[in-house]
Amino acid sequence: MKLTGFTMLVKLNCVSFKDLQPTSITVEVYVSSRGLPAFDIVGLADKAVDESKHRVRTAFRSTGLDFADKKITVNLAPADIHKEGSYYDLPIAVGIYCARQGICPDETDVFYGELSLDGSLRSTPRTLLVSIFAKETGFRRLFIPSYNLHEAAIYTGTEVYGIRNLSQIFEHLAGKTRLEPAENLQFKAFSKKLNRESNNSFTRVIGQFQAKRALEISAAGGHNVLLTGSPGTGKTMLANALVSILPPLSEEESLEVTKIYSYIGETNPDLPLIYSRPFRSPHHTASFAGMIGGGNPITPGEVTKAHRGVLFLDEMPEFARNILEALRQPLQDGVVNITRSRGSTMLPAKFMLVGACNPCPCGFFGHPTKECTCSISQINGYKRRLSGPILDRIDLFASTVPLNPDELEESLRTKDTSYSGETPIIENITKVRKLQVKRFKGETIFSNSEMNRDHILKYCRLKNSVEEFLKSVTTKMTLSTRSYFKLIKVSRTIADLDECGDIEVEHMAEAAQYRLR
């Protein structure tokens, strides 16, 4: 390349993240032919940004350009925001090129991406968030690595250009070979994929009809559920299968979930839009920050990753007490607040909780053939680990029963009676969910599980005979006031599944099987 003795200041746009919130960053590049050759990056940059120098310099050489003899200063403004990550590589490289060539880039362009040493662009996370931010801020063009093109193009509004390597973007900027913006994908790919995903692992679980029925009810009404049973009776398998009977994500929900996964960089580049409900099953040794969210910068925890999906806590009483207690807020409000001295961040965390626990630490208390080796204080201590406020937020309690070989064989031979409807189970559940959305139109809730006492009085009016029955259940089974209201809520969902406008005695009688014992 011919040197021109030219000095110039170039400004480009990039995006940084303050926790989960994108903010606009101006990348200022100044190339001077005076002074000793140097390459400096200023503006509160962390190690990954500083290392950008080496990537950019080598990538230039690989592309056949050189700038070793210049004094280059890069400023990331505003200078008081902490910058981190590798996605400033592209704007820095483009800035140097423009400064050298005397090109003035458009101020509505955004550049975002990480460079490889060979001059190509690497896959960079969070492009969906960048694309949404670009649209909202009024930027017109977005240049990102071609790997992430699908993800960024989910959201309409900006022209998105996928770049494979540096020479491609340089030629584009120089006006030699123009790039074409990607077509907005919107939700086309989304609707196509859905039909293929309807195979149902739920019906493959052997036996455990009552537990399956409990999960069907909880999926239909959005109720949180706790499965109790000895090891090996199928708790984990059932919970895993639950996802297959949950109604699909709506477009808005899908975007919400994809944004979260885009932020943590766990999207699939080819099929970036997440259309099936997330299923998260963190191990019970999970740390507080890992579950609830935390770290610096703030990383979403499992509760946020389970947004709009299922959070499955296997061995629930084994989770640290402070983690279980911290679940109270997301279970109540659907969001989690992470408060630090420098500010508070609110992350979405609306999930269905599925817990699984053993009857005692060794797992065999009440087992028909195996002996429990726990002491009474161990058993009580184990049960006490799930505090009242947490149990309050769980509507259904189901147990899985160990099967002896005869019973197993019988269950295998018999038709599954847990679901007796004619349409596929997932369609029925989707229908019931829609019914609830219609019922609670004008309220701030969407499912039966969210009803408070006022809602229950309003939407679950009981006939005299049912009221009478409820009274006898309450006295015979010594239910607390809280269990009383849970029973009505669950009955409401069972009646919905039966397409009954009114709650009948049979619905309530079934619901009573899923009470806290």
Partner: protein, 291 residues
């Protein structure tokens, strides 16, 4: 702090329970909370003992005993420990039967602490708290054994609800047997874990506990006058009867009932709730039993 003040009763006192004098080594004095002279000791006293680690099954048996086996005008005595003892005291209070708790620790100490609420309720409802140890002295291994001999001495009949292989209840049963008191044990299945002690007793001196008027007869009471009989087998509807009959043959989980009776599980759930409400079935750890 307890509302009731403890007092000491000397062996020479007129209110000292005569039954204790039958022992080889009667306590020289006992410490009491509640009214020792209130006529409670003149009732027939049924001792109820069993394991600390109570099974749901045993809870149901206890409930059944209180509902359909015990006559209305008895008193109960037990050891205030958690498990069967606690359950026996609680059920006594629920059914307005005066109950005597014999402590292994000092009269003013509460052991186990989790029974704090019971500690005041018992003397408050006409029952007694008794110990042979004063003040706040802590329980020792041997004080539990000594307490057992008092329970045995105070009882006219001893019921062993659930005893494991090396249960302390067997010691109480031995004391009672030596004092010539009838010992009744709950029958359990041959393979039933946690009931090994019951089988041991039944193979030696104990009699099987059966319903009807057994206790009345042993106490020399006129037949009848049970607390209450709530089960209502005649009012069962057809499907309920089918499930009930199956449970009579063999206890089963809802899943197995659904398989064997070829009913959808939601109907089975509904029928089981109805049977529970009618008082003819009960559930232990996911398995239903006919009562």
């Amino acid at each position: 702090m307890s509302k009731f003040v403890s007092y000491c009763v000397d062996a020479s006192s007129a209110v000292y329970p005569g039954k204790l004098r039958m022992l080889k080594d009667p306590p020289k004095s006992i410490y009491v909370k509640g009214d020792l002279d209130g006529g409670l000791l003149s009732r027939g006293i049924v001792g109820i003992v069993g394991s600390r680690k109570i099974f749901q099954y045993s809870r149901e048996i206890l409930r059944h005993i209180f509902r359909e086996v015990l006559p209305i005008n008895v008193a109960t005595v037990s050891g205030f420990m958690f498990g069967v003892d606690t359950e026996a005291h609680k059920l006594s209070l629920e059914n307005f039967i005066p109950t005597i708790a014999v402590l292994p620790c000092g009269i003013d100490a509460i052991h186990p602490v989790s029974n704090y609420a019971l500690y005041d309720k018992i003397p408050g409802s006409g029952g007694l708290i008794i110990s042979e140890y004063p003040g706040f002295s802590a329980p020792k291994k041997w004080t539990f054994v000594n307490r057992n001999r008092i329970i045995a001495a105070l009882s006219d009949i001893l019921i062993v609800v659930q005893a494991g292989e090396k249960s302390g209840s067997l010691i109480t049963a031995n004391y009672a047997n030596k004092l010539g008191k009838p010992v009744l044990a709950v029958t359990a299945g041959y393979f039933h874990r946690g009931f090994e002690g019951n089988l041991q007793l039944l193979s030696t001196y104990a009699k099987a506990l059966v319903s009807d008027n057994q206790i009345n007869q042993l106490l020399g009471y006129a037949p009848g006058k049970l607390i209450k009989d709530t089960s209502n087998k005649s009012s069962l509807l057809h499907d309920e009867k089918v499930v009930y009959d199956h449970l009579c043959e063999q206890p089963a989980s809802p899943d197995i009932l659904a398989v064997r009776l070829k009913l959808p599980v939601k109907s089975v759930s509904m029928l089981l709730t109805n049977l529970q409400i009618k008082g003819v079935a009960f559930e232990t750890d996911g398995v239903y039993h006919a009562r």
